[in-house]
Amino acid sequence: MGVAIAAPDLEPAPRRHWRHRVNFLPYALITPSVAVIAGILAFPLGMLGWLSLQNYGLRELIAHQGEWVGLDNYTTILKDPLFHQVVIRSLLFTLTCVALTIFLSTLISLLLLKVRSAIRVLIASALVFVWATPVVVTVDIWQWMFDYEFGVINYLLTQLHFGNYIHHNWFDNPVQGLAVIALIVVWGAIPFVTITLFAGLLQVPGDIVDAARVDGANAWQSFWHVTVPILKPILLIVTCLSTIWDFGVFNQIYIMLNQRPSSDYFVIAIYSYRESFGVTKYGLGATIAVVMVLILLAVTFFYVRETLEVADVQKEQMA
């Protein structure tokens, strides 16, 4: 039980002298939290794994009794061509959204350093507004803006001579439709990532950048060789978090398509939902959810490792 385990604790260890007198008190204090987390998060997670090994449909739901089928559900989905499509589509969608989010957020956070303070407050307020708006609300707004008949986007694109977009339905073509949805996801993700990155940029010591400039580095070189390495832990964290969120996207697609997405729009969260609640194959839906968690685990592995390293560094700095 060494450094790595203790790493998430960013403070110096609490005072020892309390420990000898009251031993049961801290356990009493954390018991309610442990009970809630174990009962409502940990137990369902175990149940998810168990369900994925069952044939669990409407009849089993009524009987509260599943039928054990071993790994049959896994063989079923691995042979299912639709599932392959869904996984590939989800991965491509996630990659696009994450790349755009990180790229645009980095640009905006760099811009925040350069603008005068009144403009910075303006941008920060805009970001906070977007951030605070519920996702369901944002999806409704974009649905209206992309309306094929009276939407302001079609009007603007036509007026700006990007082509004739009058009565253009963006959702006829799934590639265009998913591009619109990616736009919504990225727009909604930019505030959090930008403000996080900006906070990270403020921690980049100015004299190091100045030194790089004195040594003849141009703006790009000093950004790439000085700022990015210092920003790396934060960049990694926001990248991995964005991956988790974008891989699990559900609301934006489901609501945008009026709760009836066609199979061309299935990403993994939609597919799992459709299999379980649409066609009441809860076992199969659980299997898809397990695969989703496993794919994400592969990604979050790096996130956790990086987090522990960041915590270690901070601990050293505090010591």
Partner: protein, 307 residues
């Protein structure tokens, strides 16, 4: 269980606060270009960025105040002129709007009351005491946040179905409680740990009991932390959609986001009332944000947002 936009525990997020944004504004000259022309170009780009980010929200509000014939016009009107509140009256008069507002308020209030109390106890436990299993507890708090909520819907549904709580608010409250709790414990723990034990000890030397010292000294100082985590919890619960959608099936039992999401499906795209309803749904969150912002003094991004 990570909610989108939530700062994860165990990262450097305690360090990232809006106050730093202001600090940065004052001592900016780090990467600064001195040429006025360059400065002007940056400022202009900044205005464009802010406008692009804000435009959808402006468009929602503008549409909500336009009369129907101006909304369904092939050449959009950029400002609501003439101005009407008819859409808001329409939206409020829709079936189940008021019931679902009430449901949302009940869910958020109940969840906040319970979660703040439970999280605060655990935060004091891990911030003030060293005990066996403390590290394991902290790792659990971080670990559970990495599981996407979407994946747990099926077992949660079956669990609540087993105890006959699927179309009822307590089930939803319990799930939201579990969703926000790990983050709350982590954030509050930081706030409690930042208050020196010496302050309590000084009060005890002056004659306070330990409990008295805690409630007179530490508790008031944790106030901003409680506000920050409450904001976080409020936004998470108010904005949540999929859990409520799956669990709450009858229209009178749903929350506001579920009502709003099914607006188009139930009524066809009536954009005016829809945008008015969307404005009303978003309003409490933004208002809550603005009201508590000055009490936060940082911790705004530590208790991050977006559901």
């Amino acid at each position: 269980m990570i909610a989108p936009g939530t700062a994860p525990p165990g990262t450097a997020y305690q360090e990232i606060r809006l106050e730093r944004v202001e600090t940065g504004a004052r001592k900016r000259p780090r990467f600064e270009l001195r040429q006025p022309a360059g400065q002007l170009a940056f400022d202009a780009t900044g205005v464009v960025v802010a406008a692009v980010m804000l435009f959808p929200i402006y468009w929602m509000v503008a549409t909500a105040f336009k009369p129907g014939r101006d909304i369904l016009s092939l050449t959009p009107k950029w400002f609501p002129d003439p101005f009407t509140v008819q859409n808001f009256q329409d939206a409020i008069a829709r079936p189940y709007f008021l019931e679902d507002v009430r449901n949302s308020l009940i869910v958020v209030a109940a969840m906040l009351a319970i979660s703040l109390a439970v999280a605060f106890l655990a935060a004091v436990g891990v911030a003030r005491f060293g005990f066996k299993g403390r590290t394991a507890f902290l790792i659990m708090i971080i670990g559970v946040q990495l599981v996407p909520l979407n994946s747990l819907i099926i077992p949660l549904y079956l669990m609540l179905d087993g105890v006959g709580q699927t179309d009822a608010l307590p089930g939803v409250i319990a799930i939201y409680l579990a969703v926000v709790l790990p983050f709350m414990v982590w954030t509050l723990r930081g706030f409690v740990a930042n208050i020196p034990v010496e302050l309590e000890e000084a009060a005890m030397i002056d004659g306070c009991t330990r409990v008295g010292a805690f409630f007179r000294i530490t508790f008031p100082l944790v106030g901003p932390g409680l506000v920050a985590t409450a904001v976080f919890g409020f936004i998470q619960a108010w904005n949540e959609y999929i859990i409520a959608y799956v669990l709450l099936s009858s229209p009178g039992n749903q929350t506001l986001t579920v009502w709003l999401a099914s607006f188009t499906t139930n009524h066809g795209p009536e954009w005016g009332p829809l945008m008015a309803a969307a404005t009303l749904t978003g309003l409490p969150v933004v208002a809550f944000f603005l009201i508590v912002q000055r009490y936060l003094a940082g911790g705004l991004t530590a208790g991050a947002v977006k559901g």
